[in-house]
C-alpha cells in the first residue's frame, strides 16, 4: 500500500447503547449515543490529539479503535485492512492486534502488582508474538533500553518503582510488540511536572525513532499543544472541530473549543478576564434530537437556526473543520488567500 494512505481511517463510526425501559420483546426504547458519527484519519508518523470533557465519548472511541468493543455502525480501516468488521471477541487473534497498542492513564493501576516490570513487558510478547527464551529476553531488554528503563529494574515489582519508572514500564510494554499505532490515554496526568517533561520527551523521541503514530487523549491542553500535529475536539459523541494544533490554539473556530482553551490556566498569566464560561450541563446523550446543535443552550451564540438545524462538520478553511453555523472569524479569514469552502 502507498504511504499516502492514512494508517487509520475511520468513517461514520457510531456506538449506541440501549438504555431505559424495555418493551415486551426486550428491546430498549432509548439509545445512548456514546459515539455518534465520528470520522477521522491518523497519518503515518502523525500525532493526533483527542480532547473533550469526561463523558464526551473519548473513552468509548478509544475502546472502539482498540477493538475492545464492536461498533454499531461505521468502518475502521487500519493499515489497509478493514478491522471494524472483526468481532471484538476474535480481534485478539488477528495480526492487527499487536499493531495497535495502548498506554494507560494510571501506570500504577494498569500494571499487574504481582508481575515484575520484566514480566509485564513479556506478557504481550508471549501472547501476541509467541516469543520465549532468549528471543523474549532480548526483546524485553531492547524495549527497556528504548524507554530508558535501567535493566536492573526489570526484576522489581510496581510498588518498588517510582511514578516515572512505572510510566516507562507501561510504554515499554506497549512498544515491545512493535506497534504502528500507539493510543495514549492521559499518559502523564498522574505524574509530577518534573517527571512529566521527561516522559513527554521520551514519547516524542520514540515516535521519531520507531516511526509510530500516536492518538493522544488528554485533558491537559497545554500538553496536547506541545505534542500533537493535529487536534480533534469532541463534544457529546461528535467531533466538533479538527485541524492543525497550532492553528486551533491560535484561533479556535468552534465556541466549545474556545471555551475549552480559555479555561486552560497558563502560568504567570491570568486568563480569568478572557474566559468564556459555558453555563449549565451538556445535553443528554440519550436519543439526542438530530435537529438541534449539541451545544445549544450552553453556547453564547445560540440562535434560532442552531435550534432547528444541527450544524454538520464542514471545512471552513483547508484542513480545518468545524461543526458550527457561526465559526469564529479569526479561524476562517486569517489567511485571506484561501477560498473558504462551504461558507455562506
Amino acid at each position: 500500500m502507498s504511504d499516502a494512505e492514512p494508517l487509520l481511517d475511520v468513517a461514520g463510526l457510531r456506538k449506541l447503547y440501549p438504555v431505559g425501559a424495555r418493551d415486551w420483546r426486550g428491546a430498549a426504547a432509548s439509545r445512548l449515543h456514546a459515539v455518534d458519527g465520528v470520522s477521522l484519519t491518523i497519518g503515518r508518523g502523525e500525532t493526533v490529539g483527542l480532547v473533550g470533557e469526561s463523558g464526551c465519548g473519548k473513552s468509548t472511541l478509544v475502546r472502539l479503535l482498540t477493538r475492545l468493543i464492536d461498533p454499531s455502525d461505521g468502518t475502521i480501516r487500519f493499515d489497509g485492512a478493514d478491522v471494524g468488521t472483526v468481532p471484538a471477541r476474535r480481534f485478539g487473534r488477528v495480526p492487527q492486534r499487536a499493531q495497535i497498542q495502548m498506554v494507560f492513564q494510571d501506570a500504577t493501576d494498569s500494571l499487574n502488582p504481582r508481575f515484575t516490570a520484566g514480566r509485564s513487558i513479556a506478557d504481550p510478547l508471549m501472547r501476541l508474538r509467541g516469543l520465549s527464551g532468549a528471543a523474549l529476553r532480548a526483546r524485553i531488554e531492547e524495549a527497556a533500553r528504548l524507554t530508558g528503563l535501567p535493566p536492573e529494574l526489570l526484576t522489581r515489582f510496581p510498588h518498588q518503582l517510582s511514578g516515572g519508572q512505572k510510566a516507562r514500564v507501561g510504554i515499554a510494554r506497549a512498544i515491545a510488540v512493535e506497534p504502528k499505532l500507539l493510543i495514549l490515554d492521559e499518559p502523564t496526568s498522574a505524574l509530577d511536572v518534573s517527571v512529566q517533561v521527561v516522559i513527554l520527551q521520551l514519547l516524542e523521541d520514540l515516535k521519531r525513532r520507531l516511526n509510530l503514530s500516536y492518538l493522544f487523549v488528554s485533558h491537559d491542553l497545554n500538553v496536547v499543544r506541545l505534542l500533537c500535529d493535529r487536534i480533534l475536539v469532541m463534544y457529546l459523541g461528535r467531533i466538533v472541530e479538527s485541524g492543525r494544533a497550532a492553528e486551533i490554539f491560535r484561533a479556535p473556530a468552534h465556541p466549545y473549543t474556545k471555551a475549552l482553551l480559555s479555561a486552560v490556566p497558563t502560568p504567570g498569566v491570568s486568563s480569568r478576564e478572557r474566559r468564556i464560561a459555558l453555563p449549565g450541563e451538556p445535553r443528554s446523550p440519550v436519543d439526542p434530537d438530530p435537529t438541534i446543535c449539541a451545544l445549544y443552550g450552553r453556547c453564547p451564540k445560540g440562535t434560532e437556526r442552531c435550534r432547528s438545524e444541527a450544524p454538520a462538520l464542514r471545512e471552513i478553511a483547508p484542513g480545518r473543520y468545524a461543526a458550527c453555523h457561526f465559526p469564529y472569524e479569526g479561524a476562517v479569514s486569517s489567511e485571506p488567500r484561501l477560498a473558504v469552502a462551504g461558507s455562506r
Binding site: 470533557e53 517510582s162 518534573s194 517533561v197 516524542e204 497545554n222 471555551a259 490556566p265 502560568p267
Partner: protein, 344 residues
C-alpha cells in the same frame, strides 16, 4: 488593633478573632512521622502567614509536604505525626495547644477544608442535603426545622441546578464536578474565616475546574474569606492566588507575590519548576526537566538545603548550616545560599 465586631464567640467559651492580622500564622513548624522504617522529617521550619481575604497557594511536587501542612493546620494528620516545634496561631488561638473539644468548635465553622476526592470525602449513604444540614445543626445556630431549607439555599449558592430535588440525592448519583460543589457547600455552610482547598480540582475536567475555582474565588471575595490552595499546578496557582509558597522536601523554599514569583524567581528550584510547567512555551524541547529526586526524608544526614543535592548552583557552603533566609522587598522571601540573580 481589633474592633469588637470581628471577634466570634463560639460555644464552650472559644473565641476567634477574625479581624486579627495575620489571620493565620504558621511559625517555624516542624513535624515528623514515626514509622517502622524510621523517622520521616516531613516538615522543617515552615513559616508563612495569611491575611483576611487573601488567597495563597502551596505548590510543590508530590511528597513535598503540602498536604501535611494543611492537615497540621486542621489537626487531622495521622497518629504517627508529631509536631516537634513551632506554632500555628489562627485568629488569636494557638491551634497546636488547643484541646480536642475546642478544635471541634472551630473546625467546620471557622476553619474548613475541601478534600481532593469529593466522592470519597462525602458520606456515601447520606443524602447530600442532610450532610449539609448536619454541619449547620452542629455549628450554625440553626433549628432542626430551618436546616433543610438552609441546606437547599447552600446548594443553590454553589449553583447546583434544581437544588430542592438534588438535596435528596446521594453522592453516587452526582458527577464529580457536582460532588465537588457539594463539598464546597459543606465547607462554606458556616461562612468560615479560612478555607483550605487541598487539590480541589484534580481529576475534574478543565472547564469544570474553571467553574469550581471561579466559584471558590467569588465566595471567598464576598465573605472576605482567606483561602489556602494546595496544588501541584503552578498555572492554577498563578491564576487564583495573590501569593505563592513553593515547597520542596518539607521546606518552603520561596514565597512571593504571584507576579514577582514568575517574573523574578530567585530560588533555583522555583525557576526549574516554572521551566518544567507546560503552558508558557510553544515547543516540547523548550521545557526542561528537574533532575534528581526528592531526598529520602528518613535520612539522618539531610543537608540544610534539601534541594542542594539536585541543584546546579550547589557550592561547598550549601552543606553548612544554617540555611540562610533572605528577605527581599514586598514580602519576597527565599531560603538559599546562592540565589539566582535578579531578573533585569
Amino acid at each position: 488593633m481589633n474592633d469588637a465586631g470581628t471577634i466570634v464567640e463560639l460555644r464552650r467559651g472559644v473565641r476567634i478573632d477574625r479581624g486579627r492580622t495575620p489571620l493565620l500564622a504558621v511559625d517555624q513548624l516542624s513535624l515528623e512521622f514515626r514509622t517502622r522504617s524510621g523517622i520521616v522529617r516531613a516538615l522543617e521550619n515552615i513559616s508563612f502567614d495569611l491575611k483576611r481575604g487573601e488567597t495563597m497557594a502551596l505548590v510543590g511536587e508530590s511528597g513535598s509536604g503540602k498536604s501535611v501542612t494543611a492537615y497540621a493546620i486542621m489537626g487531622i494528620n495521622d497518629e504517627a505525626a508529631r509536631v516537634t516545634g513551632g506554632s500555628i496561631v489562627f485568629g488569636g488561638l494557638d491551634l497546636l495547644s488547643a484541646d480536642r473539644k475546642t478544635l471541634d468548635e472551630i473546625r467546620g465553622r471557622e476553619l474548613a477544608i475541601i478534600f481532593q476526592n469529593p466522592r470519597v470525602a462525602l458520606n456515601p449513604i447520606r443524602p447530600i442535603g442532610q450532610q449539609i444540614a448536619d454541619v449547620l445543626l452542629r455549628h450554625g445556630n440553626v433549628t432542626a426545622r430551618e436546616a433543610p431549607d438552609r441546606a437547599i439555599e447552600m446548594l443553590a449558592k454553589v449553583r447546583i441546578p434544581d437544588p430542592k430535588r438534588r438535596a435528596a440525592a446521594y453522592p453516587f448519583e452526582l458527577s464529580g464536578g457536582m460532588c465537588q460543589r457539594v463539598m464546597i457547600a459543606l465547607a462554606l455552610a458556616c461562612e468560615p474565616a479560612l478555607l483550605i482547598a487541598d487539590e480541589p480540582t484534580t481529576g475534574l475536567d478543565i472547564t469544570t475546574q474553571a467553574v469550581i475555582m471561579d466559584l471558590v474565588a467569588e465566595l471567598a471575595a464576598s465573605q472576605h474569606m482567606a483561602t489556602l490552595l494546595i496544588t501541584h499546578d503552578l498555572g492554577l496557582a498563578s491564576e487564583y492566588c495573590d501569593r505563592i509558597a513553593v515547597m520542596h522536601a518539607g521546606h518552603i523554599v520561596e514565597i512571593a507575590r504571584t507576579a514577582d514569583l514568575f517574573a523574578n524567581p530567585r530560588h533555583p528550584y522555583t525557576a526549574k519548576l516554572i521551566a518544567a510547567t507546560p503552558g508558557g512555551v510553544d515547543r516540547l524541547d523548550a521545557l526542561t526537566s528537574i533532575t534528581g529526586n526528592l531526598p529520602d526524608l528518613r535520612r539522618n544526614n539531610l543537608p540544610p538545603c534539601r534541594y542542594s543535592e539536585r541543584c546546579e548552583r550547589r557550592a561547598a557552603d550549601c552543606a553548612e548550616p544554617p540555611l540562610p533566609r533572605r528577605a527581599l522587598s514586598d514580602g519576597h522571601v527565599l531560603f538559599c545560599q546562592h540565589p539566582l540573580p535578579e531578573a533585569p
